[in-house]
Amino acid sequence: MIFKLAWRNIWRNKRRSLIVLVSIIVGLIAIFLSDGLSNGMMRQMLFNQINLDIAHIQIHKAGFNRNKIVKNYLPDYKHVESVLKANPEVQAYSKRVYATGILSSANNSSGVIIDGIIPAEEAKVSIIKNSIIKGRYLGSGKRGILIGEKLAEKLGVDVGDKVVAMANTLKGDIGSDAFRIVGIFQTSSSEFDKIAVYVNSKAEQEMLGIGDNYHEFAIITKDYNEVTSIKNKLEAELGSRYEVFTYRDMLPMLIYQMELYKESMMILNIIIGLALIFGIINTMLMSVFERIREFGVLMAIDMKNSRLYLMIVFEAFILGIIGTLTGLVCGLLLDIPLAHSGINLSIFSVGLESFGIGAVIYPVLSAGSLINSVLFMPLVAVVGALYPAYKAIKLEPIYAINYV
């Protein structure tokens, strides 16, 4: 009977209940969209970094990350390779030669990071092969070079043009070599496109005079959530001569930013929740004041305060549940197609690409935030009804019955 009474009370003033429902639905959709969008942005930022360059795990000579100089190549890359081959959790790896230097064309020159790669290996680890917008990917030829679109613009070069790369050699001299541009790539990060160039590892090893050595292993694991345990295993196997970093170690600011985003989302949810609470308090108070005489009669015939309180809270809870379920359906109907098609924010592309996000954001709604929102809204509705329900039970029957 209490449920029946609560349910019918909700619909005695349809417009008012619909306003509460719409505010819950809109609040929930706003949470879903903002949560999905920021979550998507963060994930895109992270995965773009991982797929561009960072990979899940990197292995270097101990100290390389602090001092990226030519002579800090891996002490025994063959040993590292044998360890990685034996590890079933490693999906793919790429050996890299690393140097910072200058790339010059006939028109201009620019500071660059020169990555010496084995093209077939790198294709399994990064998205460079799939980011070529002009020309082709690196082949077996030693003189080919891949450069980013932004760098090509700056140097005033195109596919087929010649460029000269210069970098410090192992002996401390300046080594240089001429390369012909075989491909131009464009990634989601304009900053990366300005500074990264790829050459065949053999060519760079010769230019730097480091024999057949490499500076870095970039590793993709089968499950990126397991990177910490894989790192621990690799560290134990490789010993102190090597340093093993996960993407979390190499992108601390981004990880911190992601945590910060989660917290800011929580704050946003609380703000939306507070706005809703006040809306619900207002609505429920109006509803209580409209029914003072009724409450008086109910109290006169011994409807216990607890039942009266429960009835009013129940009304808000039912509104919360209906609003949440409707908001959930509407939110998902909006979110699921957007998660596939993405939201095109190309008007902000310059800013977004400089953050390595890309112009199209794919919202990602996590199960956690979905569950939190679904639990949050009925709770908000109940909290919003507590005060009006308290006001109702504090009425004196004699006053309430004669209330005009």
């Binding site: 019918r8 009724e294 039942r307 029957p397």
Partner: protein, 223 residues
């Protein structure tokens, strides 16, 4: 058999700090099965007296004994339980719950007593049949006339077999024919079920039916 006794009842209200003597020393004894009308002009203290006798309010001074027990010192919870089990109320404005149908309104107080669903439905229907309002069972208050609503309110008041029914101006909003039917119904309940009725009213029809008339003036019993 004495059901209700009021001794030297005084009720003083404070209206913006100004004391208003609503009742000034009322002494009254009500026996089981009486059909009493408290009459008097507006402001004479009829409703105040009814509220005190119905344990909805407490006197400033004096005592009220219900079935021999002093109820003036009882806690709210005890009074509330007493109202549910022993008293029935009929209000001028009917005060039916608008979202419940007639039968649900009648069932409601039985529900509060913890009577099972099927039992209370049967009991409510039987009572409605007895009072000739069975056809209203599934109608909501806004689908009923004023007279019909007041009949349902009477049914609600007596469904738990109370010892005493207090009716505050029950015919005030009704036309004379409807009021007459309603009074017939209550007289029938009084004679058949021996339910004690106390009315407050200025309606001549009600006053004419009184088996005992109490006239109030300025918070005092005149007769």
């Amino acid at each position: 058999m004495e059901i209700l006794k009021a001794e030297n009842l005084v009720k003083i209200y404070h209206d913006n700090g100004v004391p208003v003597n609503a009742l000034q020393g009322i002494n009254l004894t009500v026996s089981k099965g009486e059909f009493i009308v408290i009459a008097g002009p507006s402001g004479s203290g009829k409703t105040t007296l009814l509220n005190l006798l119905g344990a909805l309010d407490k006197p400033t001074e004096g005592k009220i004994y219900f079935e021999g027990e002093d109820i003036t010192q009882k806690e709210k919870k005890v009074l509330s339980k007493m109202r549910l089990h022993k008293l029935g109320f009929i209000f001028q404005a009917y005060n039916l719950i608008p979202v419940l149908t007639a039968i649900e309104n009648i069932e409601f107080s039985m529900m509060l007593l913890g009577i099972p669903d099927n039992v209370r439905k049967g009991k409510a229907l039987a009572l409605m049949d007895e009072l000739g309002i069975k056809e209203l069972a599934n109608k909501r208050p806004n689908e009923m006339s004023r007279g019909q609503q007041q009949r349902v309110a009477v049914a609600r008041a007596i469904v738990n077999n109370p010892s005493l029914v207090l009716a505050d101006e029950p015919t005030a909003n009704l036309d004379s024919v409807t009021a007459s039917h309603l009074l017939d119904m209550m007289e029938q309940m009084n004679s058949e079920k021996k339910i004690t009725f106390i009315f407050s009213s200025r309606d001549k029809q009600v006053i004419d039916r009184a088996k005992r008339l109490i006239i109030l003036k300025d918070g005092r019993i005149e007769n």
